[in-house]
Symmetry: C2
Subunit: 360 residues, 2 copies
């Protein structure tokens, strides 16, 4: 399947889009024939449509001059989304698949431009669900100013996948002069986050229903390139950014400590947590530092730019609750330590696995 060909504008005639007239996806919808084309037209082309759209070729094409206008380096990233359930408070697998890949580009300092979308569908999935998820992807991409330019559709037999998996691969362009890296953090650099932690992990666990808690938890799933652009303008010396997804901020902090060979000291009382998430973690014995986020980044900023960075982030709708949670140290390289609210210290290690499978 190909969804979009951007440039050169095709001289081929636009063809009539097909429609599906059955309520559920069948194996034929993945077979490369008329049925597949109808599924792609009805669900994906209808949702992702844009003026440059062509459904004709197997690859999207765009002028390199359009890219070089934005910067000097191309960034490329990929992620498959297998989250269960596919709809959850605050989002769905489609919104997540667009935001997650945008964020993986943005934390490298790239302006996200183009996404691919490859779906693996379980036979029997209802077509309306697929339309809803594609619509969610389209709205999220449009709001973020990125285009979904090419795609692929596979259908596997019942039981060979769980409803719907989505891969998005993204490309973006990094402006000249921006250099971010997990190995660039120096002692005294300030560590900050852009808001309340653990909402995504808690919301997904709660949505699975085993707990039957009535807490109104919502995923924080959001595209962060706007916030990151604001941050980098205010604090161009920023050393490193990473979205704290699987493994939570504890994992990101450990990655910094190891790669930059610094210690990291954070303060429990400065770690921003929603009361509901705190309570949820207390009931279930979870550590919120390891809970997944889908709209939160860990930032390392040189001390002289920290104030400007914090002010810029707090001015952005996705950074209102930004906080400085600690700093890098030259003692104990490779270690992350937390001052607890009780006045003690504890080591924040990397987990072996995740507290919760299929979180993204």
């Amino acid at each position: 399947m190909t969804v979009v060909q951007l440039t050169p504008a095709s001289s081929a005639p636009r063809r009539q889009l097909g429609r599906i007239h059955v309520p559920n996806v069948t194996m034929a919808h993945g077979g490369g024939g008329k049925a597949m084309r109808d599924l792609i037209d009805d669900v994906f082309v209808a949702a992702f449509d844009n003026p440059a759209l062509s459904t004709m070729e197997d690859q999207a094409r765009f002028r390199l001059a359009e890219l070089t206008a934005h910067g000097d380096r191309l960034a490329m990233t990929t992620d498959s989304y297998v989250i269960h359930p596919i709809r959850f408070p605050g989002g769905d697998i489609g919104k997540l698949a667009v935001c997650g890949t945008i964020n993986d580009l943005a934390v490298g300092g790239a302006r996200p431009l183009y996404l691919s979308c490859a779906v693996i569908i379980e036979e029997g999935l209802d077509v309306d669900t697929l339309r809803e998820i594609a619509g969610s992807m389209a709205r999220t991409a449009a709001a973020a100013g990125v285009s979904i330019v090419t795609g692929d559709t596979k259908v596997v037999d019942r039981g060979a996948c769980d409803k719907l998996f989505i891969n998005t691969t993204g490309i973006g362009v990094i402006r000249e002069g921006i250099e971010l890296g997990v190995g660039r953090v120096r002692p005294d650099d300030v560590i900050m986050v852009n808001g309340l932690l653990g909402d995504h992990g808690a919301a997904i666990l709660n949505a699975r229903g085993d707990m039957a808690l009535s807490t109104p938890l919502e995923s924080d799933c959001a595209a962060l390139h706007g916030l990151i652009g604001t941050l980098l303008a205010a604090a161009p010396g920023t050393r490193f950014l990473r979205d704290a997804t699987r493994g939570g901020i504890a994992t990101v902090l450990n990655e910094i400590a190891e790669a930059s060979q610094v210690g990291i000291l954070i303060h429990e009382e400065r770690t921003p947590l929603r009361d509901e998430v705190r309570g949820f973690c207390e009931i279930l014995g979870l550590d919120p530092l390891y809970l997944a986020n889908e709209g939160k980044i860990v930032c390392a900023v040189p001390p002289d730019q920290a104030e400007a960075a914090l002010a810029a982030m707090r001015n952005h709708p996705l950074g209102r609750d930004s906080a400085i949670i600690g700093h890098a140290t030259d003692g104990r390289p490779g270690r992350v330590v937390m001052h607890t609210v009780f006045g003690g210290r504890r080591i924040v290690d990397m987990l072996v696995g995740e507290q919760l499978p299929r979180i993204c």
Copy 2:
């Protein structure tokens, strides 16, 4: 997971690669923690390693100047591979995932450069199988001169996917002046293929074992960008290329007929088929025109360049059995017609589905 960061060369220290000490993949290997890093290191980084490798960032980065040296347009394509079985005569899911995406770039006239690799693994898959598939991807990519630059690893619970799905997304660069499109074919253009048809489809069906035929059928799975480069050099006026995967050459011919509003006339006796595939199709009542290929392209070339194109293809190891199978006509636009060996004519329509699910 990130597999490679090409440029700028990271100043971060290379770290010791982790190892897995269990025979099977567990849910922890997809959790974002130490276990996942060990899996990525042991299986993917070890296989895909190259001098510019970094395992540190969430996105690959490369200088746009390296791309603009190759041409004026970027091509981007994506495909998920869900083939069953994951090993088959002539290849495996890893080789297929690299060749398939290379081919989707190459048929647009692009020189394939970079691939992403995102895997979804079923809990319990043995790690040796995964190492073997990653090794196969690495060898295929190296032979084709492309780099696997970024990746993602997900593990889903037993029964939530079938062993292993792989998504590869590729980018490449199209040289100035090359313009290929399914809507560009004109009456009298010559239609050719680069060899014997249907090997992949027949081999997969046979490999599933239900038939218990002892025919030595092998998939034709191959990366075709070299052949295509040779063809375009010899016949720069080539109008259109497409690899004839799901749906076979019949589907590609119908796509040309519709998009270019031409008729297509092909000749059954000129359609190159291996005797084993012909026999296989006769026994099972299959039409070889609809059998999937993974190393065959349909080409439309203007008549004055057809001879040069055919000679160039036949000179290439992947085009020895190239043949002219027909031409475009101005009568019956949108229709594909075949002269049969019995002297009759029949319409070659597009199928609704595929003869065989999970063929790629």
